[in-house]
């Protein structure tokens, strides 16, 4: 038993030397691997599959454009969103790039790039409730859900009416949608980009967004390892992509022009 333990430890130490000895910076590490491993979830319209099972989406195309300039291959890795910080720290992925909201708490675990989209929050309800719920005022006794630690949760806590409602954090935004479908909640607060892609399709065909409600806004950015020199490098590339119109073109394609212009465009 002990001998096996020693052998395993020796193996691990050996392997750690194989892969990491001599990396002086995060960029050299990524460059050495020849690819940038990008942590994503399947999230329409950021990263999702088209009819041919090809990965597309705003973040997919954006990441491909950045990787081309970096001269490395993008490798998209579908991860469990709850584990994103750990995946990043364990170097199983190199960046988190999937409609990641910039928050102060997250800064402890990652560095953010320049924000590239505005992340508006919106309230989604069932169509049959459209007359009952028209404002945050009407929702103050309702049952609410949003993803734990998400921008939606922040919006609920910041709103004078919504903060009085009964709020149950969900594991993910997708789970919040399922909770609404099941009738476990009356309304959910989710990313506008996601709600726009989701409401009206599949089992969510009877979901609608409440129009004309202003909630707190946040921003989307790319997450890097703390202290990584990749951040500055990618920020420079983002500037170039804004200047030559590439990013605007991608935003137009996925109907996010307004969100893009508020964040980056002039």
């Amino acid at each position: 038993m002990k001998k096996i333990l020693i052998a395993v430890l020796a193996l691990v130490t050996m392997l750690s030397c194989f892969t990491s000895c001599g990396d002086s910076s995060d960029w050299e590490y990524v460059e050495g691997n020849g690819k940038l491993t990008i942590g994503i979830t399947i999230y329409d319209p950021m990263n999702y599959y088209d009819e041919n099972e090809e990965l597309i989406g705003f973040d997919t195309e954006f990441a491909k454009a950045v990787c081309e300039k970096l001269g490395v291959k993008p490798e998209f890795k579908v991860i469990d969103w709850k584990n994103k910080e750990t995946e990043l720290k364990a170097k199983n992925i190199d960046v988190i790039w999937n409609g990641l909201t910039v928050t102060e708490e997250r800064r402890e675990n990652m560095d953010f790039s320049t924000s590239y989209l505005i992340n508006k929050q919106c309230i989604v309800i069932k169509k049959e409730d459209a007359e009952k719920y028209t404002s945050t005022e009407s929702l103050k006794d309702a049952l609410l859900a949003a993803e734990a630690e998400s921008a939606g949760e922040t919006a609920i806590k910041a709103d004078a009416n919504l903060k009085n409602a009964t709020y149950n954090p969900a594991e993910s935004q997708q789970n919040a949608f399922v909770a609404l479908l099941a009738g476990n909640v009356d309304a959910i607060v989710v990313d506008y980009t996601m709600a726009k892609a989701t409401c009206g399709s599949g089992d969510y065909k009877d979901f609608v967004m409440i129009e004309g409600i202003e909630l707190t806004q946040e921003e989307y950015a790319i997450g890097f390892r703390v202290g990584s020199d990749m951040t500055a490098k990618v920020n420079k590339i983002i500037e170039e992509l804004v200047a030559d119109g590439t990013l605007k073109k991608i935003a137009d394609k996925y109907e996010m022009t307004e969100l893009y212009e508020e964040a980056l465009g002039k």
């Binding site: 691990v12 130490t13 750690s16 194989f18 490798e75 584990n83 720290k89 399922v178 479908l181």
Partner: protein, 226 residues
Amino acid sequence: MDFLDVTLKLLSGFQLTILLFIFTLLLAMPLGLVFTFGTMSKWKPLSLLTRGFVYIIRGTPLMLHLMVVVYIPGIVFNSPLVRWPIFGGNTNAAYFVGALFAFVINYACYFSEIYRGGIESISHGQYEAGQVLGMTKSQIFFRVVLLQVVKRIMAPVANETITLVKDTALAATVNVYEIYFMSKEILNSEFIIWPLFYSGVFYLVFNAGLTWLFRHIEKKLSYFRS
């Protein structure tokens, strides 16, 4: 996505579920016997060490072990699992083997306790009889005791095996794209919920086969009834 598309996508995930199941079983069953010998060893340090290990593994959640295997190499040893040279850059293989490792260790611990119960249930008189007949210790174990043990532990082993089929869904948390992961992915990209429940049918059918198999084995073994 129609029924056929969903079925095919779920089947592609179910392949991984079955692979994880089979490899875990093949590796954990013999490893469990090694742990049993460790636990029952007359040499105190070995017995204590194995018992301590089994206690820790049985006393903590499998979900946690999956995290330890997949994340600790990168965080503590600065050697990310997915970059280990043996995986040749295949990250899917890295996550699969990582998950498999955690499953094997876990189930070996459970099996080892089932084996121990089985071995200790054999009456002492049989060992004495063997000695009188001039058999060696290993002869007594392999020729007299083992087959009786196999028969006695069949029911709890069947229990663990069926639990294992369902536990493989936990591997979804560390990016093994098995059937549960696939059904969630369909929900997240197509916004249809029924595949999530449909995936249960795959487990059910597979377990029906296992149940039949174990009943068959038990019937064969009832030959030993005295």
